[in-house]
Symmetry: D2
Subunit: 147 residues, 4 copies
């Protein structure tokens, strides 16, 4: 069962800021992009509306340590590792590697924790079990990779 | 009946790009922000879910002429004028004035056209009449203001 | 000499809005992304700092007609065509095709006009000739393609 | 000397996502917006270019715990507290309170650590002392407020 995934993404002009580097909020967008590409690689998508009640996967925690700035047109590898798997939540860690740097260098490390929620008719969200078609298709990465 | 509205918004750091100016896509975000503030000033909100079928107001056309760049921390006035009112669509024009410049200067002019749509159970959208509680509360600006 | 370019981009979760479709401001980000990929395909980048005076390419006009919404995970082809080439400005048109739709369908059409500017020591920008290493490497598309 | 600041910001439509809530990356944008408003309240701005070498304040760490979602048009108070002050770095914590909820409720808590850097002619960044006109104008919040 897969416990990791690598996505690549090029830094776009609109993602830079006046300091000439990628704005830090975009690291969090990129983590999510890699997470969703991981799901696609497993054959499913994050869909909200086709179940009853509809499920969602909001983030409850996110963090990132920024080591080297990313710049316009840098090609970035986002390496996702499954860090923790519980009945109602998943945690991923992410390593950003700037493939344009020579030699390639680690730019940042992040962690994101998501919970599975069922959306109630009144719009509120209640924690729910992660469906087996997701939970059974991924596993926690070996601990030596999570250091 | 009102035909205009003025909102102000300060340019945030994350809205700048590596050229040191506000990224051009944000002018379109600001137009929408002013439009929604206009609706709030009239006592209603752009709500999708409480009607049956739910209504939405997607944009079908948007344009902008950029004259002077906006920069970080500039305070911007977004002047909305109702340009056209049809049974199923509305068109607004927008003038951006940089209040931080001395003297204040016009930074951009834009136009946005929205249509009212009813969202069908299958997710598709069908053009629909703008509800009277919206249509009856705004009017087209005098033509001399729209030059 | 090339007069067109096709880029593809997948709609990311953070680019959707509460209406369930890609937020309209992102069409303008995508146009720029295709423009920069076009430049890269010609062997150069939009660089600001290495010339004296440094050059920039701000947008002076942008517009878009939205025909079909784009949704999360849709794969989008952005077809760029050179529409006009003047000594100090370039104009591109863009066609968005949703490759995930079956059959693929046109989602939007846009136009962007950029000017070449030289950035002065005081931060102001003065229109300047497009350098030959850019201007000489692209040409205007045949008019029948620009209809 | 001030150790806290409160900014308010309304959630804009473009900041929501298809789950109907504010996209989580925007919490990080809002923290920065509050930080810059704090600086403005002290009489200075985050300026990069007027010193020699120019200074910048990149983020080296950011985290956020999300408790309640924020929705379109919610008015949010972002309460900044100075958490740590070192010679070359500052750390802030942030509490998001949804003022539109009734009663107002805490939506999220975050922490951001920034370092002062001097930008070298080759574009690289070297850690530098925070200038006294910043460092001497703020102090660490009482520990009982930082729990």
């Amino acid at each position: 069962m897969p416990y990791e995934f690598k996505a690549t993404r090029r830094v776009e002009f609109s993602e830079t800021d006046m300091a000439g580097i990628m704005h830090y909020s975009n690291f969090f967008r990129f983590m999510e992009t890699a997470e969703h590409a991981f799901y696609r690689s497993l054959g499913f998508s994050v869909v909200f509306d086709r179940r009853d009640p509809p499920l969602g996967f909001p983030r409850v925690h996110a963090e990132c340590d920024f080591r080297k700035p990313l710049r316009f047109e840098d090609l970035v590898e986002i390496h996702l590792l499954v860090r923790e798997k519980k009945s109602k939540s998943l945690s991923f860690c992410f390593r950003f590697r700037n493939l344009t740097a020579s030699p390639p260098e680690e730019a940042a490390r992040g962690v994101v924790t998501i919970v599975c929620v069922a959306r109630q008719p009144d719009g509120s969200m209640v924690a729910a079990k992660i469906p087996p078609e997701i939970a059974d298709r991924l596993e926690v990465a070996p601990s030596e990779l999570l250091v």
